[in-house]
Symmetry: C2
DNA sequence: TTATGTGAACTGATTCACAGCT
DNA sequence: AGCTGTGAATCAGTTCACATAA
């Protein structure tokens, strides 16, 4: 199971979403070409992507929706619980915390953090907003109680994002979903005088969700539509 | 100017963000290796990406921050005004409308739409929320007054997203930024009896911003860290 | 001497053709 | 007969080496 294109993982997530929709419509069987059409890719691509992880279909028949769904859930690690803290509970953080669908697949928000005095103690989704200074202790206490914090979401203003991410890494999270429009630097910020105080970013995964960047890419492609192949879905 | 990798466009947006930061810090000169380090890519990559659009540096010297910034702004089309409507003014839509940084570079929200009665007329960022049914007329009226609506943001629940996108396309926008966790189908929804009533999606650009997908990719990479090269930034 | 700009080499992802089951 | 699974071929994107200019 080595050497899988990162784009393939994005597509698996898409296939999973499609399978959920099919299941909701009580459609029981599908095929690589059906999935391909719904995902906006080729049927070859679907089969190749699935083949990285196993053999989930039946030749001549196609795929069974609940079975393939279960397999993708397993492959993506969505059959286990993921404990999440959100750093930054302004409008964006609150929108994220309340967005439906996150609680599918055992993603659980266990802590909400900010620095604004007016937000302290305020309740969102049944959780009280806490101060950033208490993040480290909170994560340690969770770990003690078998509630390891797996991921942190960074939803603070851009100029605070690097520090927020560093705080999450110091606290021991294994992954960061970064909503700020900056590239997080995976190095310990040099303190005055000293250089490199322990490289704690080793192994921490960062994923970015940057809507301002999306907006700018969109502007570019509207001006240069020929550079975007407006996917006239070829299916084999 | 043909055949530019889409990944290169994403990186250009990143370089631009970095140049803004440098300019704010009154740093006047940079280099491909400096940009590379800050962007988390190689210096080769930076030079190649820039080379798709022109020659912006001085050999032996590097790049002048304000000059390179101005060029990237031009390349990305951010020196012109982009009029935007948002469809879906729940928590997510409101967070987007209020997010600072969108008003950099002449992105202007000109209309906000929803269907919920309790939101009608409510003011967000100086604009009143209107009913979806008035979208088409609104866009037409804007076009009359030289205020063409260029993009629509889709921030409605997943099951409403396809219809919302179709409404935007019917109204005549040229690009869609889709926040819903589904793949928009670029086809006219077949009305009962008829098939294909005018393919109006031709040329409409779609960009996706899907935080649930990001969350799921993050889960996968936390479980399979070896598949992510944790970018130990090699700079030549 | 330094750092850009770029053709050529390479690497990796996608596409293809078809063998293999049902 | 039909659709999956997969090695081989193709294609695209990235890396490299170096010629070029300041």
């Amino acid at each position: 199971m080595a050497d899988i294109p990162t784009a393939a993982i994005s597509r698996l997530v898409t296939y999973l979403r499609i399978l959920e929709t099919l299941e909701a419509q009580e459609i029981d069987r599908t095929s690589s070409s059906d999935l391909a059409e719904r995902a906006g890719v080729t049927a070859f691509q679907v089969r190749k992507d699935l083949a990285y992880f196993g053999r989930f279909g039946t030749r001549g028949m196609g795929y069974t929706v609940p079975l393939l769904k279960r397999e993708l859930v397993r492959v993506l690690g969505l059959n286990q619980t993921w404990n999440v803290v959100i750093v930054g509970m302004g409008r964006l953080g609150q929108a994220i915390a309340n967005y439906p669908g996150a609680s599918d697949y055992r993603f659980q928000y266990v802590g909400l953090f900010d620095v604004a005095p007016e937000l302290m103690g305020r309740e969102v989704r049944g959780l009280n907003i806490r101060h950033m200074d208490t993040l480290r202790d909170f994560v340690a206490a969770q770990a003690q109680g078998q509630q390891r914090v797996d991921m942190g979401f960074v939803a603070v203003p851009p100029d605070r994002a690097q520090d927020a991410a560093q705080a999450l890494v110091d606290a021991g999270v294994r992954g960061i979903l970064n909503f700020a429009p900056i590239v997080l630097q995976p190095r310990t910020s040099e303190m005055s005088g000293q250089q490199e105080i322990g490289d704690e970013w080793r192994g921490v995964i960062v994923e970015n969700v940057d809507f301002l960047a999306g907006m700018k890419r969109l502007a570019f492609y509207i001006l240069n539509p020929h550079l975007r192949v407006t996917d006239t879905e070829e299916n084999e």
